[in-house]
Amino acid sequence: MKGKIYVYLKKQVLDPQGKAIENALKSLGFEEVKSVRVGKFFEIETDSSFSGSAKERMKEYCKKLLVNGVIEDFEVEAVEE
């Protein structure tokens, strides 16, 4: 399986890094920039030694480790092979 997991900071959560990048872009002359938010993604490869659907498995990774539900949301994109 190959999969991608996108992790977003929740809307209510302040994103200091995004804010800093926004300011930096502006000071480089890109004055049109209104907002920047930073997220991360994971590209994961696995073998097939697990049961259940690939998507469900990826969600488990998120719940068990990859995502902190207090501040983050996520999306999963799995490709079974």
Partner: protein
């Protein structure tokens, strides 16, 4: 009194914490490796600071999912006393023992500096002896405390903010809240007030030659609390 310090892969303030408890306070101290489940019967568990797992993914994330932390959770549920400093605080939030999360500092950079702390609630196991403004170092990149509004309301109402960043003369002041923490929060307590997470390092303020001894008041408070409850 017996203390246990948990060591995770990559922890780098573990020795400092052990020195603080064992050498400065002469308290019997066990060191427990993160793969172990037996906490060795402590009165207090200490989670040290310093980059477990390199702070990769999120600070504290990987450490909070180790066997030793499962035991710490049970220990806390039974009313045990737990102190997490810096990365230890991050681990406590990640493991759900404390609410909220620690975001990147508002400066985006790592900050090492002295901060001033005010104990907001003196009726906790950690603060009864804290009768003055404390001067204690911070050293972190992710210490910007965050929680949602509802949680914040609960924390304030239940007096679960243990410490706030203040100016040297004790006033709340954004200029002295270096990392940008919500409501200048430097330390948070669990519902039963027996779990404390804090970003500043009391173990680095334990001898005059290091510039401050203020960190000792926190452990002195715990000692006095345990003496009272034991006897």
């Amino acid at each position: 009194m017996r203390a246990t310090v948990i060591e995770f892969l990559g922890s780098n303030c573990d020795h400092d914490m052990v020195y603080f408890i064992r050498d400065v306070f002469k308290i019997e101290t066990e060191v427990v490796w993160f793969t172990e489940r037996d906490l060795k019967n402590p009165d207090i568990v200490l989670l040290p600071g310093g980059f477990s797992y390199g702070d990769y993914l999120r600070p504290g994330a990987m450490a909070s999912r180790t066997p030793a932390m499962e035991s710490v959770r049970e220990f806390a549920k039974r009313g045990g006393i737990v102190l997490g400093v810096c990365n230890g605080f991050q681990i406590l939030c990640e493991s759900g023992l404390l609410p909220g999360a620690l975001l990147r500092n508002k400066t985006i950079s790592f900050i090492c500096d002295d901060v001033y702390l005010k104990a907001e609630n003196r009726e906790t196991p950690f603060t009864s002896m804290v009768d003055r403004i404390l001067k204690i170092p911070i050293a972190h990149g992710d210490g910007n405390y965050f929680c949602d509004e509802k949680t914040l309301e609960v924390l304030e109402k239940e007096k679960r903010v243990a410490f706030r960043y203040v100016s040297p003369d004790g006033k709340i002041d954004d200029n002295w809240n270096f990392n940008g923490a919500t409501n200048s929060i430097a330390g948070v307590l669990s519902e039963n007030k027996r779990v404390l997470g804090m970003m500043p390092h009391p173990e680095r303020a334990c001898e005059k030659i290091l510039g401050s001894e203020d960190g000792k008041l926190i452990i002195e408070s715990v000692i006095s609390f345990l003496e009272k409850t034991d006897g």
